[in-house]
């Protein structure tokens, strides 16, 4: 069982409850907007059931504890506990991961980025094709459940591809996340069954929101410059 050090169960006043509740954010597009590449049915289950459950279960877990009232990011870092995961880490991180995932996609997405992002990809991976290959390979070879990410490593001023198991995300690894793809089977099973590589190809060709990735990169560099 996880230890409860640092997580006291003191009661909180009721007027903090409403503000402190973690909310389920809707994707920035209707649930059928990614058809035919990601079906409405997938979004209905993936967002409407899985993502919603993470939110509901997290709220149940944190009510009345010190985590109640903290931001989602703070809860994630807290409960990651340097790898000795607190029980609510999985729910907290998965809430955040899925928000980030919906925002990593858009209708009519995919293709190739431009501007500074493309230049940095070419600089750090050799070419866009090599980046894409590395990203898809990471996503395809994440054994079991997890995520693949394009991240910005501030210390080295470099873009990297990483893969993480289950709910782990770059926030706890000290990277700035820029792009993610969910490779838990529930993300692709209704549309692609076992064919994870096909899902990844469709994701890259038709779904990635390079605008979102670019603006995240700008934000990451600005934040990194401040620290």
């Amino acid at each position: 069982m996880a230890s409860t050090q640092g997580f006291s169960l003191s009661a909180r006043s009721s007027n903090e409850n409403v503000a402190a509740k973690i909310e389920l954010k809707a994707p920035p597009y209707p649930l059928d907007a990614l058809e035919p590449h990601m079906s409405r049915k997938t979004l209905e289950f993936h967002w409407g059931k899985h993502h919603r459950s993470y939110v509901d279960n997290l709220n149940k877990q944190i009510v009345g504890t010190e985590l109640h009232g903290k931001t989602l990011e703070a809860i994630i870092v807290n409960t990651y506990n340097k790898g000795d995961l607190h029980p609510s880490f999985n729910n907290a991180a998965q809430v955040w991961n899925h928000d980030f995932f919906w925002e990593s996609m858009k209708p009519g997405g995919g293709g190739v980025p431009n501007g500074e992002l493309l230049e940095l990809i070419k600089r750090d991976f050799g070419s866009f094709e090599e980046f894409e290959k590395e990203f898809k390979t990471a996503a395809a070879t994440q054994f079991g459940s997890g995520w693949a990410w394009l991240v910005y490593k501030a210390q080295d001023n470099k873009l990297l591809v990483i893969k993480t198991p289950n709910a782990v995300n770059p926030l706890v690894l000290d990277y700035y996340p820029l792009l993610t793809v969910d490779v838990w089977e529930h993300a692709y099973y209704l549309d692609f069954q076992n064919r994870r590589p096909d899902y990844l190809s469709v994701f890259m060709e038709n779904l990635v929101s390079w605008e979102a990735v670019s603006s995240r990169l700008q934000l990451a560099k600005a934040q990194a410059a401040q620290t």
Binding site: F143, G144, G146, H186, L190, Q193, N194
Partner: protein, 235 residues
């Protein structure tokens, strides 16, 4: 998704040529029942995909990793040998686990769901209080498992008792000691019954409701096989 076609058991032994050193390679075992025979607990669609695609992929990748291991060993390429270990553990584990799993299931008309009798039945009552209590425990632990993995009923040969354990991804029951260095009993565990809780095992039918899958799978659990394994270890 594919239309519901007539689903039959297919023989799918793939023969792979042996390497010049007589390298043993593996092939997909037949299911002892038709794909549709476990309905309505587990759909024929899932059984076919699970067997022909997922299990087959583990075998294909396991064979590939073993060939690469053979080549690296021959060349004395130590770092490649080490790098291949995770692919071997994952894909070999997947092959071992699924081979056990197909035997853990049986159609109702062939005894699926019938409670264990004999020494296993007695041992379950002794260790857990009742079969219902064991089922409850395995169901709860299977439902709570984060991500992908398995829930097992195993015989601990060293301490001569039954245990319920969970493993992540395709870790084998017998490799438990590798996951948690404090637990040294791994090698003495004999898996009797494993339930796959990877999403591919239930998603097309049960979607996100893993607890419903776990509730229903007990109707097709083949306790006869578990008993045979148990009795072989406990003559």
């Amino acid at each position: 998704m594919a239309l519901r076609t007539l689903i039959n058991r297919k023989t799918l032994t793939t023969t792979v040529p042996l390497g010049f050193r007589g390298l043993q390679t593996f092939s997909l075992p037949d299911l002892p029942y038709d794909y549709g025979a476990l309905e309505p607990a587990i759909s024929g669609e899932i059984m076919q995909l699970h067997h022909q695609k997922h299990h087959q992929a583990y075998i294909t990748n396991y064979n590939k990793a073993l060939e690469q291991l053979d080549a690296a060993t021959t060349k004395g390429d130590a770092s490649t040998v080490v790098k291949l270990q995770s692919a071997i553990k994952f894909n070999g584990g997947g092959h071992v686990n699924h081979s056990i799993f197909w035997n853990n299931l049986a159609p109702v008309h062939e005894g699926g769901g019938e409670p264990p009798k004999g020494s296993l039945g007695w041992s379950i009552d002794n260790s857990f209080g009742s079969l219902e209590a064991l089922i409850q425990k395995m169901t709860t632990e299977g439902a709570a498992l984060q991500g992908s993995g398995w829930v097992w009923l195993a015989l601990d040969k060293e301490f001569k008792r039954l245990v319920v354990e969970t493993t992540a991804n395709q870790a084998s029951c017998v490799l438990l000691f590798l996951q948690d260095p404090l637990v040294t009993k791994g090698p003495s565990l004999v898996p009797l019954l494993g339930i796959d809780v990877w999403e591919h095992a239930y998603y097309l039918q049960y979607k996100n409701v893993r607890p419903d899958y776990l509730k229903n799978i007990w109707k097709v659990i083949n306790w006869k096989y578990a008993s045979e394994v148990f009795e072989k270890e406990n003559p």
